[in-house]
Symmetry: C2
């Protein structure tokens, strides 16, 4: 463990098939007006909407409906939601959905009582909220982003052409999350698998940084092994409760700040992925999948010891009689085989990336000065070409 | 992940060599009177007492001194502390020390304003506190118990002849903990190593239960691997900051409720260890070390699959051409070799257990109906004889 850090994560997690039975009680900790934020109509078809509304009623809440949160939620929608929250003086935002809905709810939570423009203040200037923050709770229906137990919020501004992540403080972390693995069963296969890769990417992007011996990396390896094991089962049988439960739990711990304790992170794959998402509106997890192998093969020599460790401890590669480079490459081949097996998108062209729009993607990519190597724009272009 | 559970752990952790610089700020969240609880005089020799008092002064606090907390803290001392806390209407109990001091502080926190006898209410009848609970914070100077981020409190009643653990709710978890690995450098080798084994025992006693595939076990394996690696370094060079930091972090996560999520636990080794501690007043971690190998060899066949997994995933035992029993036994031999290498007590007779007092130890041992096998009193005696 290097350096100094603070860990504080007060989110209450209710996990399991009966998790929803705690919602009505939990709601009693908040005032009478609840804004119910969700995406399209899927939660109305699978019964989750009715169960949530029943809990809200039993807790005696007035509900402010806020539907239509899109994947890759926009700042325009956040501004709309903030107006709605302020006009109704809501006491809680209950986000029912996946990471997009929860990220959006956090955006609204810090914008409702903010008198400046939220995009400029929070996502461009990265300032802290000074206004009253509306509490957020969630009922998770899709797994991947970890947004249910962190203070991150990724928002897209179509007018300025940027998709930006922002990590707020622990005052913005959701107060509670209802995690019922069964609620994720109706997610379409493509979205489910995209979520699986998003989780793996969170794990890898925090793993591939630093040179110190750090307990955090050992925890991370455990989570990767569990994820690989369970996703191979779930990709074939999405209704395997045990596998889906393990994946749901792994997703939460993959990005709730535990895995950055005492070490740095990389996050360049997420930057390229956000840029692809901005240009093509492709599903987030698939954008990450499409560039990961070219990216890691590109930076591997800058952090070779960690790629060797990844191969041995995560994939069980035996190092005897092999060079470090061979071991590291064998680890990445194992990653590739797993990706194909669970069925992620292996080529960015399937997402709408073309020779022609690569420069636009590169222009929209933030080049982070962290991880084992800071990319140049030319390197981003090279990686994107390899990803096609 | 099996069943339904809640995870909520709001303790703020400040970690690193500069962690103490946050104490004065943190103290501002509490009223003016702070009870300073600690053990013997060691913190006065190594400068930690002075640093804590300086922070208390800079935050403008009135300090109520409460020294003399013993290892294996007693209910008599808790009653004394509770009187002191109530008389002075303290706003915070600041525990400076290891697990004994923090366990004691939690005992005081629920007893100060309790009108019933705390031993009977909390440790015998295991009831929940209904009175005002005094908040607890800690500055950790010894590593092992994980008490800094959990609601557990082990208290000894000399008059009734019992040592009992009690897990309270999240309202009793310490509000914050200052974790500076350097503060643990002056702990004597014997106590340091005892703490190392206490951590390993927490990990193993949560690992050896259940048959389901559970992400929790993968996290646990990561923590065990990190602990084994770092303790081998620290046992030889206690001033290796990186190793001590990893061990400190592992200790916190080994027993902050994360590792029981979605699975059962065993905890029989702790029960036998507590009984030995009651009869001999031996150091907690060493009592666990002295009985662990006989215990695990005794129950191994009841949870063979998990002992095989332990051997392979924690110790890297290769299973090719071996029976499951051979693999499991090889894992336990690796455990034994590590124990000898770090220098724990391998025989309970070194702690004062004798053929003569074994029945008394067995009488004081709670037989828990969890883990892979519920022991009988005769089996406890058999294990204790093997441990001599």
């Amino acid at each position: 463990m290097k350096g100094n850090f603070k860990y504080h994560n007060p989110t209450k997690l209710y996990f399991g098939e009966e998790a929803m039975s705690h919602l009505a009680d939990e709601l009693k900790n908040y005032g009478p007006v609840v804004m119910l934020s969700y995406g399209g109509g899927s939660i109305k078809k699978n019964g989750i909407y009715d169960a949530v509304v029943a809990a809200l009623k039993s807790a005696g809440k007035t509900v402010v409906e806020d539907s239509g949160v899109m994947p890759n939620p926009t700042i325009e929608k956040v501004r709309e939601g903030a107006r709605l929250a302020r006009e109704n003086n809501v006491d809680l935002i209950l986000a029912v959905g996946g990471g997009s809905t929860i990220d959006y709810a956090k955006g609204v939570s810090v914008s409702a009582w903010c008198d400046e423009d939220p995009w400029e203040k929070y996502w461009v200037r990265q300032e802290c909220p000074e206004c009253r923050i509306v509490p957020v709770g969630s009922v998770l229906t899709m797994v991947g982003t970890g947004s249910e137990m962190n203070a991150g919020s990724v928002i897209t501004s179509r007018s300025t052409g940027f998709k930006r992540g922002r990590v707020f403080g622990s005052d913005v972390i959701p107060k509670f999350a209802i995690l019922n693995p069964r609620f994720t069963f109706t997610v379409p296969q493509y979205q489910m698998v995209a979520g699986f890769f998003d989780i793996m990417s969170h794990l890898m992007e925090q793993y591939f940084a630093g040179t110190a011996d750090c307990t955090t990396d050992y925890i991370n390896e455990g989570l990767m092994r569990s994820l690989i094991h369970s996703t191979l089962i779930a990709a074939k049988n999405p209704h395997d409760y045990e596998a889906r439960a393990n994946i749901m739990w792994t997703a939460t711990w993959a990005l709730n700040t535990l895995l950055k304790c005492g070490k740095g992170g990389d996050w360049e794959v997420h930057q390229i992925g956000h840029a692809i998402g901005l240009v093509t509106d492709a599903t987030h997890g698939m954008t990450l999948a499409s560039v990961s192998l070219p990216y890691y093969r590109h930076v591997m020599h800058d952090g070779l010891h960690q790629f060797v460790r990844f191969a041995k401890n995560v994939w069980g590669v035996r190092p005897e009689g092999k060079s470090d480079e061979q071991v590291a490459l064998e680890g990445l081949s194992c990653l590739e085989a797993w990706m194909k097996e669970i069925g992620v998108v292996m080529h960015s062209r399937e997402l709408g990336v073309t020779e022609e729009n690569i420069p636009a993607v590169a222009d929209a990519t933030l080049l982070l000065p962290v991880g084992y190597r800071t990319l140049t724009r030319d390197e981003v272009i090279e990686i994107l070409k390899e990803s096609l």
